[in-house]
């Protein structure tokens, strides 16, 4: 049976199961979510109003045995950036939706009666939409437990905590992973949009699904073997990531002078050794726990981990570089265990690691609390934000808004979204990605760090302008295509250096659907997605003037290399010449 579009209307509290329109047939993941948002959402709509939509779509290869294919995409108009947003996540949702035959789940409108929240449950034949007053005010792990009590333990769960209910700009949608922990549809206030539609939790049935249909199973298996080998033999995806996690980056980015510290004042942090991946791996070895953990079934990279305290009690999992940088280097907490405690709390309430961490940095700059004061951070996140106190609402509004409230000049955002863990002045290719991607400052949209710092895909000097626009463009086009397959973005490391990797990936898509895509087709798909997203943003009122770095980075030299952001507007805008 062919895949269907499941369309839920929150005003009518009903649903339709529709055939997939011809023009959406070959799309999945980001390609599909961005196409649907561009086709069906008025770019000028208020992101928290009735005319915004949420589009959840598994990747083209999700639900198959393909290694690392379990990523799910969410498309919205973002209340944080005012532009289009694609957010992707691991967890079990993508595989389960794909196996159930859900090509996309589209959620429209908002209920007329806003006195309660709803629980949406999707099965092959039906969608139920029922009020769930008993879950209102609960945080994610409690909602998760309630769903596991009610359904098969494999059920897919997407939920918001109290920040999402309050439509905060730092809120995420949390997604159950294979071990019953949480991953996040992060960045861009995804949780606020779910909250605006009065949806507390979405579950997808995992009992009655079937295997995905493969047009050519033999060819698929053969291609997957080549692809898996490429992932396992690459030194980054095969060795570095499983051993040290993404947090291995702290030291190399710090050594390169590109680790933003103290709200983007410095490119080095004195806390690097205390919070780095090597220290984390040593702690895990000494305390029990595990350096390897996959965020989705079929992951062969296993970059995630389980991190315990000194007594061996669980502190956090999915303890990533961005989180550790944001609270360790940028906000100044030197105690890795305290950062882990904050991480687990943030998973529970469902807030974005980067947006929240950078917000605390700006708040410290503005005098609302002191840098390094992790105890106050913990208190605000565990009390003020869930309770919605004025302080909680302020922090919950994100870095750009907090900067305005406190009169701060050093506000590291692009399109009002916080800049992640790589300094654009010292890693200039990454800076080009931050300013040009339609997503607002986002590192995964075109990971130029690979070629600026990690010697993956060649080397382009991070401190010089030459070649950076082209590098970022090529990476953004490739990433948009990869985000459509359901593949984890870390397949980019073998893809950049192993010529067998990408052809095997394309072979799998062809064998899954019985088609004949070429490498060129995939590149043009990526380019088309980017242009679709860019066009949406222009219609939403964003202009070239929004493709800019915060001004302070143009006149404040960043130690240790004492570099400023020196691209001209023309150089930046030439990004779109393709």
């Amino acid at each position: 049976m062919s895949d269907k579009i499941y369309r839920v209307n929150m005003k009518e509290l009903n649903y339709r199961i529709e055939d997939v329109p011809e023009e959406w047939m070959g799309l999945g993941g980001r390609g599909l979510t961005s196409t649907v948002i561009a086709a069906e959402v008025d770019p000028e709509c208020h992101p928290l109003g009735p005319n915004n939509k949420m589009v959840f779509a598994p990747g083209l290869l999700s639900g198959t045995i393909a290694a690392n294919s379990g990523r799910n995409s969410l498309g919205i108009k973002s209340p944080l950036t005012g532009g289009i947003k694609e957010s992707n996540v691991g967890g079990t949702i993508a595989g389960i939706m794909a196996k159930l035959g859900v090509k996309a789940l589209i959620i429209e409108d908002i209920p007329e009666d806003d006195s309660t929240f709803y629980h949406i449950h999707v099965t092959k034949e039906h969608v139920t939409i029922e009020p769930c007053p008993e879950l209102v005010g609960k945080e994610n792990f409690e909602v998760l437990d309630a769903m596991l009590e009610r359904y098969d333990k494999k059920v897919a769960v997407m939920t918001i905590g109290t920040p999402g209910e309050q439509r905060m700009m730092i809120s995420n949608i949390s997604v159950k992973d294979p071990k019953g922990k949480l991953r996040s549809h992060g960045r861009g206030a995804t949780g606020a949009v779910m909250g605006s539609k009065k949806i507390k939790v979405i579950t997808v049935d995992a009992e009655k699904y079937k295997e995905t249909h493969l047009a050519d199973p033999e060819k698929f298996k053969a291609a997957n073997k080549v692809f898996t080998k490429a992932l396992q033999e690459n030194p980054i995806s095969g060795e570095g990531l499983p051993a040290f996690g993404t947090n291995v980056l702290v030291n190399i980015i710090n050594e390169a002078g590109g680790l933003p510290a103290r709200n983007f004042r410095y490119g080095n942090s004195e806390n690097a050794e205390a919070i780095c991946g090597e220290t984390m791996a040593d702690n895990i070895k000494a305390r029990g726990g595990s350096t390897t953990h996959g965020c989705h079934a079929g992951c062969v990279i296993q970059c995630s981990q389980t991190y315990n305290d000194e007594e061996g009690n669980y502190l956090a999992s999915g303890f990533e570089y961005e989180m550790i940088w944001a609270f360790g280097a940028n906000f100044g907490i030197s105690d890795l265990d305290l950062i882990a405690k904050i991480d687990n709390l943030m998973d529970n309430i469902g807030v974005d690691a980067i947006e929240t961490g950078v917000t605390f940095g700006v708040a410290a700059e503005g005098g609302l609390l002191e840098f390094e004061d992790g105890e106050t951070v913990y208190k605000i996140l565990s009390e003020d934000i869930p309770q919605g106190t004025p302080l909680g609402k302020i922090i919950g509004s994100g870095a750009g808004n907090v900067g305005k409230i406190l009169g701060v000049v050093r506000v590291p955002v692009v399109k009002n979204q916080s800049i992640p863990a790589y300094e654009p002045r010292a890693i200039k290719g990454q800076g080009i990605t931050y300013v040009t991607t339609p997503m607002g400052a986002d590192h995964t949209a075109g990971y130029a760090v690979a070629t600026n710092i990690l010697n993956s895909g060649g080397y382009i000097d991070p401190l010089k302008k030459e070649g950076q626009v082209e590098l970022s463009r090529n990476l953004q086009i490739a990433s948009a295509a990869i985000d459509s397959t359901g593949m984890c973005i870390f397949v980019a490391f073998p893809a950049l250096d192993d010529p067998a990797c990408l052809p095997a990936l394309i072979d799998m898509i062809n064998a899954r659907f019985g088609i004949n895509l070429t490498g060129e087709d995939v590149t043009s798909l990526g380019a088309r997605i980017l242009k679709t997203e860019h066009a949406f943003n222009l219609k939403a009122g964003l202009t070239a003037a929004d493709d800019r770095i915060p001004e302070f980075m143009k006149y404040e030299p960043l130690p240790p290399h004492n570099v400023v952001w020196d691209f001209t507007n023309e150089e930046i805008d030439s990004f779109w010449d393709f």
Binding site: G240, A243, F244, N247, H443, I489
Partner: protein, 77 residues
């Protein structure tokens, strides 16, 4: 002789050190430093070499006061 600070990262630390001042004959290249430290480059080939936070290759001749940072292939995001 030139005195430099050698920093090791990721798998190179196991059985070796994190950061140490070390002395080498004048004219020593980074390749010479790598051999002298005995880090397992056969198992974990060199990914990135930085001198004072700038990317260099193995032929760079170290100078007094340099910080030499040696990384196997690492990545994340």
């Amino acid at each position: 002789m030139v005195e430099v600070t050698v920093k090791l990262f990721a798998q190179y630390r196991e059985g070796h050190f994190k950061a140490e001042p070390r002395v080498y004959p004048k004219g020593t290249t980074v390749e010479g430093v790598i051999i002298e430290t005995g880090i397992p480059v056969e198992q974990f080939p060199i990914g990135v070499i930085m001198i004072n936070g700038r990317h260099m290759d193995e032929s760079y001749v170290i100078e007094h006061g340099d910080t030499v940072s040696l990384f196997p292939k690492v990545g994340g995001g």
